[in-house]
Symmetry: C2
Subunit: 330 residues, 2 copies
Amino acid sequence: VKRKERSVAEYVEGVLNNDRTILAQAITLVESNAAKHMEMAQQILNALLPHIGKSIRIGITGVPGAGKSTFIEAFGQFLCEKGHRVAVLAVDPSSSITGGSILGDKTRMENLARHPHAFIRPSPSGGTLGGVHRKTRETMLLCEAAGYDIILIETVGVGQSEFVVRGMVDFFMLLALTGAGDELQGMKKGIMELVDAVIINKADGDNKPKALAAKEEYNQFLHYLRPATPGWETKAYTCSALHGEGIADIWRVIATFVTVTKQSGVFETRRRHQLKDWVYAMIKDYLETSFFANPRVKEKLPLIENLVMSGTKAVTAAVQELIAAYEGRD
Amino acid sequence: VKRKERSVAEYVEGVLNNDRTILAQAITLVESNAAKHMEMAQQILNALLPHIGKSIRIGITGVPGAGKSTFIEAFGQFLCEKGHRVAVLAVDPSSSITGGSILGDKTRMENLARHPHAFIRPSPSGGTLGGVHRKTRETMLLCEAAGYDIILIETVGVGQSEFVVRGMVDFFMLLALTGAGDELQGMKKGIMELVDAVIINKADGDNKPKALAAKEEYNQFLHYLRPATPGWETKAYTCSALHGEGIADIWRVIATFVTVTKQSGVFETRRRHQLKDWVYAMIKDYLETSFFANPRVKEKLPLIENLVMSGTKAVTAAVQELIAAYEGRD
């Protein structure tokens, strides 16, 4: 039998009461691409607007194998035990390619998933990074309305996903490994300039001296960079998620960050700019999507692109032709 | 009396014969925003298409005071004396604000400007970075058709202009100073990951030991980064543009770069991707410009933006309203 459809008011009340079933269903609405669901999701979000924005939003990135799940599980449990309510989300635009979400998977964080104060939601699958961005952001807002006061957003850093997560969170950290070659881990283009902390995980057993050396190396490197957040010095720290060592220290760093940036006004300014940037990002995403999904553009693009790349058609002429096709003037 | 108007054929012939007056007039057409001029410019560029792309395109960035003019003058004269023909262009989106072009100014490069094998053109003034981008790129193509085999493109690195120049050139270098504080010069976000060489200028007199120390420091730092060009190691070099020292070495580095990347295919691949990227960049620029120039959008944007930033309007609702205004559905 088909599930009884809920009204907007029922969703709103359910989310505010942190009814986990209703919260999950509201997220499903937000993740749906059906016009009817999107319309309803917007009504729900509008009604919840006064109840959002009160969490601390933390982004976590790192190469596969850096131990993000283990870290998030240890960190999340620590926070739950301190009385916080923790929602774990993920941004993984590759999940549309790999045919399923690889992040935020409950089976990877069994203990945290069982905790009554934790809520884990995998990355929305399918669609563009712009779509994943919107869905994750709105899921975050629903979780805030449901009373989760700490949001952890995980990403593997495919393509531009780190910029997307940086644009969603207050504090952004890179989880790094050591002892795998002489280069700094995760030294993806520009990533070091986005983060507020570098966490060298697996600082345990034989690996501990290497982790401490890596910490020094990172700090040396970070010294050269402009910090991601004005008035905050990005530094490297070690921890062992496996043994729970250093977890409390990382939380202290984040708590200090929040105090410092709230005092300086940087916290609030960033939040306001993020809202504005989201508007612009969504408009650009809409404009580009409607352009490149246009049937006449889709038909003409491959040939024109080849002519341009082989040097037989001028760029501006190509652009004019594509725009004419889009506007039905061809 | 009004200047006699030239035909497309006259422009094409004049440019191919490197008639400097006609070349300058063709560039003025390219820089014009009048529909009639743009149309004519496109016809000229189309006719010249078989004659373009045969130069080496070199980008030069650096903070104000790094000595870019002195360097370009010395480097340009060296190249002219070696038998090359050198065009100097500039990308300076700020020239629309400062009310005139501050780059590529002939008065700053008097000796080079007088050389019969050199052609200097200041940054197009006015308009968006997208507009400056297109105009500079098309000016570069005209110069290539006129037989300039080395194109130097200068930028101060305002906003995104370094990314624009990186997307136009084969070889990109950062001109840096030393002895001005303990931080690496020009350490703008991401810039070090864009360049193929760092040139420490003013390595003369008392400053020479400092320049050599800065070179070491840069090389240490560069070691950590992924190089801007696959198969090429970005390194730091010293020179004294004032005394002409190190100029020949820098040319040897660039010549090696060209040989290596042409052999590996990276040179040609980058050129092809730049053409494709230009198409996409121009389309995005067009879409955004026509959206934000729309009278209904312009009217609604400030209020909606404020409502979003103060948290009283949801982002998605704001976006939907603006799109409705754009499409005349409000």
